[in-house]
Symmetry: C2
Subunit: 502 residues, 2 copies
């Protein structure tokens, strides 16, 4: 979300002040005849899910996005209604879909929970967070799952929805949540309003959204796994998904119950987190043994069964891999009374959280004290060619460098303001070079940095120390750079990659 540069529109009012009945009614009357989809939560998933629903493959819905009234959402909601989509995305389809919905007038954003009452389908895309307690090196000591916000969101739905609605949960939840949390809450709310509890449908289908150049396609053109708390719920979920996702090319897979699909989601992400953690350990080993882990991984990836072996890197970020394994382990104990943790999966989070600390230690080890040094950080997002800085490992890495009293500048083509660090990020490389850096760190795998012309521009001037923490540079670039500069690559032994002009 890139809103901070907009003018301050004042503090939000209390929720009771946001009576949007008039706007909602007007919107619905303009969209008469269309079924109504309400998307709950307008974050990185919900905002784009709203666009996808407003541009369905086989049905044109009236779509209302609802979020809680706080300062950030205040700007976001105003922005959506005022004709500026509040995501700084690299996917032209985002703007295409948004402009379509403006033209058709079938997208509205609001705080007013009244919207749920008009919904045929409610898609739940709210956050469900994990609180981690870690040591200074990132070693995970403890964690807890915070269900309060999620429960409140479901309660609001139950307070306003009609009894025939389809509630489709997309939020990543501890497996068991739809059956053990969502259904009881909605049942209770409907009962208290004197409504039937056997008419609504409750489905679960997890998204695999990937912010970046394929943002829309990562929802619309991507296989889906889904389920319902009963057969009619699963049928309704399937029918709805078929109207918004291109199921001609993307498989829809039904699982037996909502616990199964909830587990599929966290298993999928835990698998990836574990494979990344695996690469972490071997990175350290490769450095010690003086070999190049990138070469080794590339050699192994020739084998099809091993093609998704991970490369070394600076760490794991984003909203999913940093917490999903913990949701699973929490569910195992809390919902299913297990005596056992999911040790490997928990450990993967801990190992991955330590990666930026490893990277910092290596930097100091190879290039010495950073005190007073001018350091340029290339890339602050957690992933290549994406402007998402949530839980970016670069944050931990940068904080450690800052403690050494280094002088820093940040560059990222996709981030102009680093929200979590509350600082400016340059998008112009020449401004960064004017800083006359002594150390340049590659910390996000943006394709801009891999271009020969970028490398030439960056390193044409005086000798500089280069720390590639993310495998940005290829062999040839390293060899070329190594003839003039000092180059060190995370996951590779330094004696091996032209370090110190060898």
């Amino acid at each position: 979300m890139n809103l901070s540069k907009q003018s301050n529109l004042g503090k939000p009012k209390k929720i009771s002040d946001f009576d949007d009945r008039e706007a909602i009614t007007e919107f619905l009357s303009k969209n008469e005849g269309k079924r109504v989809v309400v998307v709950q939560g307008l974050g990185f998933v919900g905002a784009v899910m709203a666009l996808v629903c407003a541009n369905g493959v086989s049905e044109e819905y009236a779509v209302i996005g609802v979020d809680l009234p706080d300062e950030k959402n205040f700007l976001k909601i105003k922005s959506i209604n005022d004709g500026v989509f509040p995501l700084n995305a690299d996917d032209p389809k985002i703007y295409e879909f948004y402009n379509n919905s403006l033209e058709k007038g079938n997208l509205l954003a609001t705080y007013d929970p009244l919207a749920y009452g008009f919904a045929d389908v409610i898609v739940v895309d709210v956050n469900l967070d994990v609180e981690k307690v870690s040591s200074s090196t990132g070693n995970l000591k403890n964690f807890d799952v915070d269900l309060d916000n999620f429960k409140n969101a479901i309660k609001t739905i139950g307070t306003y929805c009609h009894e025939n609605v389809l509630v489709l949960v997309e939020t990543t939840v501890p497996p068991g949540t739809c059956e053990k949390i969502v259904k009881p809450i909605i049942d209770k709310e409907l009962s208290e309003r004197g409504l039937k509890v056997d008419r609504y449908k409750l489905g679960h289908s997890y998204e695999r959204v990937m912010p970046g150049p394929e943002y829309i396609n990562s929802i619309r053109e991507f296989p889906r796994v889904y389920s319902g708390i009963n057969d009619s719920s699963a049928d309704a979920t399937e029918a709805f998904l078929k109207t918004i996702i291109n199921t001609e090319t993307c498989a829809l897979t039904r699982l037996e119950n909502t616990t199964a699909t909830e587990m599929a989601k966290v298993l999928e992400n835990s698998y990836r987190a574990t494979n990344i953690a695996f690469a972490v350990e071997w990175s350290r080993y490769a450095e010690e043994a003086g070999v190049d882990l990138y070469d080794i991984v590339n050699a192994i990836r020739v084998r099809k069964t091993h093609a998704n072996l991970m490369y070394p890197g600076i760490g794991v970020g984003g909203y999913c891999l940093t917490k999903d394994p913990l949701l699973a382990s929490w569910s195992r104990k809390e919902f299913f009374d297990s005596d056992s943790d999911l040790d490997m999966s928990i450990n993967s989070v801990s190992v991955n959280d330590q990666m930026p600390v490893f990277a910092f230690n290596r930097l100091v080890q190879v290039f010495g004290s950073l005190q007073g040094k001018r350091v340029v950080i290339l890339g602050v997002s957690y992933r290549g060619d994406v402007g998402d800085t949530r839980f970016s490992p670069v944050e931990v890495f940068v904080n450690l460098i800052q403690k050494e009293d280094a002088l820093m500048r940040f560059h990222d083509p996709y981030v102009s303001n680093w929200e979590e660090q509350d600082c400016e990020v340059e998008s112009d490389l020449s401004l960064v070079l004017d800083f006359n850096p002594e150390i340049i760190v590659f910390s996000a795998g943006h394709s801009l940095y891999k271009k020969d012309e970028t490398i030439e521009a960056l390193f044409s001037l005086s000798e500089v120390k280069i720390f590639d923490a993310i495998g940005t540079l290829n062999k040839e670039q390293i060899l070329t750079l190594g003839s003039k500069h000092k180059v060190s690559v995370l996951g590779c032994g330094d004696e091996n990659i032209n370090f110190c002009n060898k």
Copy 2:
């Protein structure tokens, strides 16, 4: 190796008694003009590597297989020379290649280390073992790498080889071994014989042999990673591999040094071991949560990046995955003075070693005491459609059942004698059924067991309890069987899969 049914040929003589000079000389004169390849070690890799070399894609070698004089090898070597290939393999190419070499007369087996002296190329395929100390549940407490046999094998080469030989190590070794162990030993032996030490070539290229229906192809038609201790060694290794492997369709990847390729091998296998261990934890969780992990894994595997996610199972066996992660961790500390273990990789071995114990516990949990029960075990090898019982998890599982005083029968289409357990294995299913089993366990994923006609034959009679520990049965088979029998599937909640005629 399936030799136990052959007649006892008597105790082997001492090595000094095996003067095979005459046979070797005769063999070489018959094969005059051909370059000589000596394969050291005639186990599951070496025996088949000898066939591949004797049937090179672009060169016809004279191939001599050498192994140590012990009772097992005595039978094996005699068998090779007498026209009976000593492997009970499911790959017709094995017999085709063996018969070709018989016709051409370019394959000899011997104990006599004199053979190394005639070699242009020596391929090292001897074992390098790990000793594990584990708790009764398979929990790994300690381990050590036994280099003695390997060092002796290399010393023998150094004692006999000429100074221009190419020594190609294929054995899976702790990374660093070629530089830190093999080269010093050969240098020393050559020096002591007054020979030059800068002329021989030393390469490393690991095999990816998979006993089974693609046994030969898993060497000949499979990508390879290789290296040498110097450029000329790497060149010689490449040139040799090109003569025996179909490099038109299979990539040859050169890495920078032997430590890199040695690391690639153990990383590759540690990756797989870790992914299997990952599935183990989630199997237990799925059982507790009452969902079917096979369904979940299948749903996730639709996603290409997750297509090699592992299924639940009874355990990990075979010679590689059960030890290779430990070789790596050992090397990290012993060869590269690291303070750190490869914790995740070590842990994967421990988790996997506990799998058959989990399976046994589940069996007792769902079907009660096994005392005096008639139990049939379907499949004793460690892998589907393979007759390899080395470190089979079924062994641990069966030993636990035996302790319960159950009455057991074993069936396996690929194993007639279970060497490690020293017992007979039936190949005829009807004999097993005559036993009138109360419990039938699927413990190896042989395709025979997946056939509808097998299932019909097995379960047409009286009611029986079925324990599928390896995902042999598909959904439809489970549903059909569940209407008459009690079915429990490892990795699935029992409430979920038609258990107890639900």
